[in-house]
């Protein structure tokens, strides 16, 4: 092979290099998302569109946690909405009590983390559909608490301007500050992707997979089901709650009635459609399930957009069961077979 590398070949090796470096992929994704923070100021995008991207990023964080459960640990939770709500409303309550932002976040994470641990304990006894519905119980209990307990207010808890690290006061009514808030969310998204990548490519990740796919061998090799179920549920809960905290940070007000089963199911759909075990796929899932309908379809199709996303979920599962993250891979395969065929045909 003594050919001189062409620009095209350079491009291909660059792509291959990106494919091999997940951390680089996350960074590129974050940069792309950060560009969106600037666009509205240049008049190239509406600020409301940026908010849709913010919400997509928040959903991605939540869905990453769900992927740890579904993709790696073979477990399911139907109570995710309750924990996103815990993050958003909990921040509302504690910020109003006068706690600094960071302290409030830690307290909220601790509280939901312990709830997650309880579910983990529960999962040792209860399995399959019973476990799924047990988590639905938890979600429903939380929802009832949010809607009926007075400290959570009526329809909304208003939070208002947020002071980060005790210095940076950010209020989402101001356009510049809203862009900064958006950038913070993208930063947290990048962080959660990196942390998850580290976790699943370690002894812990292997133990989670062994626990779900070869339970007996895992036990024989010393993997404690209790410990790793706890890790799975606590991590998933913390990711969901972090999503809620980001919601409170960006929108600076938290609804009490929004945290229904359908939200939890949407999060699961993001993982299913995006791809089990794939971090980038989870983001794709969030874009397809939440971003696409709200960015494009609502304008194009109006009321049908909801039907369209529902149909999309069904179609992707029926015809693309491994998830959207494999689209690139499959396209490459098709292209290369076409190429070899073209080469063979004289």
């Amino acid at each position: 092979m003594n050919r001189r590398p062409t620009a095209q070949a350079h491009g291909r090796t660059l792509l291959a290099a990106i494919r091999r470096r997940p951390l680089l992929q996350f960074a590129l994704l974050a940069v792309a998302l950060l560009v969106i923070a600037v666009l509205p100021h240049l008049g190239l995008m509406r600020f409301s569109t940026m908010s849709i991207y913010a919400y997509t990023a928040i959903y991605t964080v939540v869905a990453l946690g769900m992927n740890i459960l579904l993709g790696f640990s073979g477990l399911i939770s139907l109570g995710t909405a309750g924990f996103i709500g815990a993050g958003a409303l909990g921040m509302g309550v504690f910020l109003r009590m006068g706690l600094p932002f960071e302290a409030a976040a830690v307290v909220v994470l601790l509280i939901s983390g312990s709830l997650g641990a309880l579910i983990g304990l529960f999962s040792l006894k209860v399995e399959s559909i019973y476990l799924a519905i047990a988590t639905l119980f938890v979600g429903e209990i939380l929802r009832q608490v949010y809607t009926s307990v007075p400290i959570f207010g009526g329809e909304f808890i208003r939070i208002g301007a947020v002071r980060l690290f005790g210095v940076f006061e950010l209020n989402q009514i101001f356009q510049v500050e809203r862009s900064i808030l958006y950038a913070v969310i993208v930063g947290v998204l990048l962080l959660s992707m990196v942390l998850m990548h580290h976790l699943v490519r370690s002894r812990t990740g292997r133990a989670l997979m062994a626990m779900s796919r070869s339970e007996h061998a895992a036990q024989a090799m010393g993997v404690s089901l209790l410990k790793y179920r706890l890790i799975a549920f606590v991590t998933a809960t913390l990711y969901a709650t972090a999503g809620g905290i980001l919601y409170a940070l960006y929108f600076q007000s938290a609804p009490t009635r929004a945290w229904t089963l359908n939200v939890s199911l949407l999060v699961i759909a993001m993982v299913v459609v995006g791809g089990f075990k794939s971090i980038v796929g989870t983001f794709l899932g969030a874009i397809i399930i939440y971003g696409l309908p709200n960015l494009l379809l609502k304008d194009l199709l109006g009321d049908i957009s909801y039907v369209f996303s529902g149909a999309l979920i069904i179609l992707v599962i029926l015809f693309y069961p491994r998830g959207f993250v494999y689209v690139g891979h499959d396209l490459r395969r098709i292209v290369s077979t076409l190429r070899t065929r073209a080469r063979r045909a004289p």
Partner: protein, 291 residues
């Protein structure tokens, strides 16, 4: 005493709606191995059919109820044929999410097909009631409870005593073995979806007079039906039914005597604790795993 009776009568009616939905969910779980989150939406869709027939064509409630049962039957069959059957080989979790897609499609279609205004449906037997020990018992309650129980009783008889019922039971135990033994599992699954859709629709027709026909009318019924399923245990068909009445009664009871706000929370937490000690429900059995 009158209070308790009133709660009991109330709970019989709500319990019936939960039981109808729960039995549908159990039937589908056992034959298709998927949790049908769309059970409520399917019922709601057909309640809209009843609503539009009543309002636009002026049919009476009995006729529209019958008509909506027929449309429900076909809704179930269509869903099975076009969505569930092609999904036979996808992973169990993906299969459950398909029913979420179904909810979105149905909830999205409703305003397009029926408009955004909610419909009102009358009770089957409006107004009249009889007083039992100081508590009013509406004839409508007696009627809906009776017809629900009769329908479920008929289904139990069908499952326990007929050849098709046997086919359902063996499909529930092992779909693949049954198929190899020549059981028409496809038809069994189809019948299950059709029956589940009809039961969901009946539940919707019972709820409609109190709540009006709107996209979220069965949200509470749907969730409660899932809870009833785990409380009674999915390994029998009567477990979810018993669970439904227990949940309906204890929710009404705690709401009346303890707290309207905390009633549900208390009941749900108690069931969770119960589930910790009996992980397969009241009548459930554990299946052993081989090392």
């Amino acid at each position: 005493m009158a209070d308790i009776l009133r709660i009991l009568f109330n709970s019989m009616q709500t319990g019936s709606t939960y039981a109808l939905a729960a039995l549908g969910i159990a039937l589908i779980w056992k034959t298709s191995r998927t949790t049908n989150f769309a059970q409520g939406s399917i019922g709601t869709l057909n309640a809209y059919v009843a609503g539009i027939l009543l309002v636009s064509w002026g049919w009476n409630i009995w006729l529209v109820a019958a008509a909506s049962m027929v449309t429900a039957f076909f809704t179930g069959i269509l869903i099975d044929a076009f969505i569930i059957r092609p999904a036979a080989r996808v992973s169990p979790i993906s299969k459950q999410i398909i029913t979420l897609g179904l909810i979105m499609v149905i909830v999205g279609l409703i305003p397009l097909l029926f408009g955004v205004d909610p419909y009102r449906l009358p009770s089957f037997i409006p107004g009249a009631s009889v007083t039992v020990a100081g508590a009013a018992l509406r004839y409508n309650t007696v009627f809906v409870v009776t017809i629900s129980l009769a329908l479920m009783g008929g289904l139990f008889w069908f499952i326990q005593k007929t050849r098709w019922g046997l086919a359902i039971r063996v499909t529930a135990i092992s779909e693949s073995t049954s198929r190899l033994m020549g059981v028409p599992t496809k038809t069994v699954t189809m019948i299950s979806w059709a029956s589940a859709a009809m039961m969901g629709t009946l539940a919707a027709l019972i709820v409609a007079p109190q709540a009006s026909v709107n996209p979220n009318m069965l949200l509470d019924v749907q969730v409660s039906a899932f809870f009833a399923g785990v409380l009674g245990g999915f390994s029998t068909f009567f477990g979810p039914v018993v669970g439904s009445f227990i949940i309906a009664f204890s929710r009404n009871f705690t709401a009346f005597y303890i707290s309207d706000i905390w009633g549900n929370v208390i009941v749900y937490s108690l069931i969770l604790v119960f589930l910790y000690f009996k992980p397969y429900g009241l009548f459930g059995k554990k299946s052993e795993k081989k090392v």
